[in-house]
């Protein structure tokens, strides 16, 4: 690798480390595993940088992070079961808390986080890429390696499941 392409790599790829880390955090649900995977993915990205043909560097890096996360889970015999969504825990904490706005927001955040954690991987990744990272369907398809139609149907099913878990209904919302 020449100095020029090293500088290009630092300029083009390294600004997306926060996004890379966010995806790894959601996929692995552990901050230390996420750090190790992001570092591994960055070094792999550097090795393959010659093959990067331009285009969206963020989606390119996220695809590598996603693949590294999957390999990591296999290598570490990651327990692939999802964490069951349990509402009881949340009810007891919200009762104990003082009902001020920040506490309510924090418990709402925890409830949403648990709902996300309870999703199967293939649903969780499309939700994070769309709702947290704001990727287009085409970019999500590139990261996950599936056609746009599959992105659409996974996203629809994931949202439907989340709406049910979080008891979101437009009748009550409006």
């Amino acid at each position: 690798m020449t100095d020029g392409s090293l500088q290009r790599f630092e300029r083009i790829v390294l600004p997306h480390l926060d996004d890379a880390y966010t995806l790894a955090r959601y996929l692995l649900r552990d901050e230390h595993d996420a750090q190790d995977v992001v570092q591994e993915a960055s070094l792999r990205a550097l090795r393959y940088f010659e093959s990067y043909s331009g285009g969206d560097a963020r989606a390119w890096l996220l695809a590598i992070v996603r693949n590294c996360s999957r390999t990591w889970r296999k290598r570490h015999r990651f327990d692939d079961r999802t964490i069951p969504f349990d509402d009881a825990e949340e009810i007891s904490t919200s009762e104990a808390d003082s009902p001020d706005a920040t506490a309510v927001h924090a418990s709402e955040q925890a409830r949403v986080q648990r709902a996300i954690d309870s999703l199967p991987d293939e649903f969780r990744e499309v939700i994070v890429l769309r709702e947290v990272q704001d990727l287009s369907y085409r970019e999500i398809g590139d990261v996950v390696g599936v056609p746009i139609g599959t992105v659409m149907s996974r996203l629809a099913r994931a949202r439907k499941r989340l709406a049910a878990l979080l008891e979101i209904d437009a009748r009550e919302a409006s």
């Binding site: 480390l17 966010t22 750090q35 570092q39 949403v112 369907y137 919302a173 409006s174």
Partner: protein, 252 residues
């Protein structure tokens, strides 16, 4: 438009993935179909709750530092740091001249060769430490935790001052194998740069003022005090590394 077709397009409608004409068609249908409108309302509300509550994380500075340093270390693999034949020939020539000219010069050259060899090994160790999981054996920002951890693991007890107020955060410590022995390494961070401080018993009891070297974009500062030799290694700029060394040495 059939409700069935409309339902399939609600997600893309919400995400702005539909062409203008289809968007208009969907909106017309939603205006007159309460069942589809309710479904779209649920979808919109789900999207709102998710985007308001899901966190965008920030990669920790230590991780960014490890990556930047590891990336900066990559060109070094092209030119292995210990394979320096051209350089060695020059030193050998220098040594020969030195030996012939005077004993004093000989000592000076010998010391710089010794320093250069140490720097090469320390550079390898420093870059290795930036690989995942290698930086610290004991992770703590508390010097009362890091210092006792070294007991029984290494034969010198390193100084582990708290330098937070000067902007150098203690990250932890590790035992590393350098120059044929196990040595304590104290790890600090400044912004996104890691600083490894290697410590071993000095060959000479004389104190020595901080002296610096550079290799592949990394800076080294070495000094000797109280029979202990210190080496600070970092990709931090030389001025700030000197500031670190001054603060570290003063805090002992």
């Amino acid at each position: 438009m059939q409700c069935r077709d409309c339902r399939d397009a609600l997600g893309p409608r919400l995400d702005g993935e539909l062409p203008v004409d289809e968007t208009r068609e969907i909106d017309r249908h939603l205006a007159k179909c309460p069942a589809c409108a309710r479904e779209f309302g649920t979808l919109t509300e789900t999207h709102r709750i998710l985007s308001e509550n899901l966190m965008q994380y920030r990669a920790p500075d230590v991780l960014k530092a490890r990556i930047r340093s590891a990336v900066a270390g990559v060109p070094a693999s092209r030119e292995p740091v210990h394979a320096v034949p051209a350089w060695w020939r020059q030193v050998a020539a220098g040594l020969l001249i030195a030996i012939m000219s005077s004993g004093v010069t000989y000592v000076a050259v010998d010391r710089s060769v010794h320093g250069a060899v140490a720097a090469d090994e320390l550079l390898e160790s420093h870059v290795r430490s930036l690989m995942p999981g290698h930086l610290t054996d004991v992770v703590s920002t508390e010097h009362h935790t890091v210092k006792p951890w070294f007991n029984g693991r290494v034969d010198v007890s390193p100084a582990v001052p708290n330098l937070d107020s000067a902007g150098f955060a203690l990250v932890g410590g590790r035992a590393d194998y350098v120059r044929g022995r196990v040595v304590p390494v104290v790890v600090y961070a400044r912004r996104q740069h890691m600083i490894n401080v290697y410590v071993w018993a000095a060959a000479s009891a004389d104190a020595a003022a901080p002296n610096d070297l550079s290799r592949n974009g990394y800076h080294f500062v070495t000094w000797r005090t109280g029979g202990i030799e210190y080496w600070a290694v970092s990709d931090l700029n030389a001025a700030e590394l000197h500031m670190f060394v001054a603060t570290f040495a003063a805090a002992r």
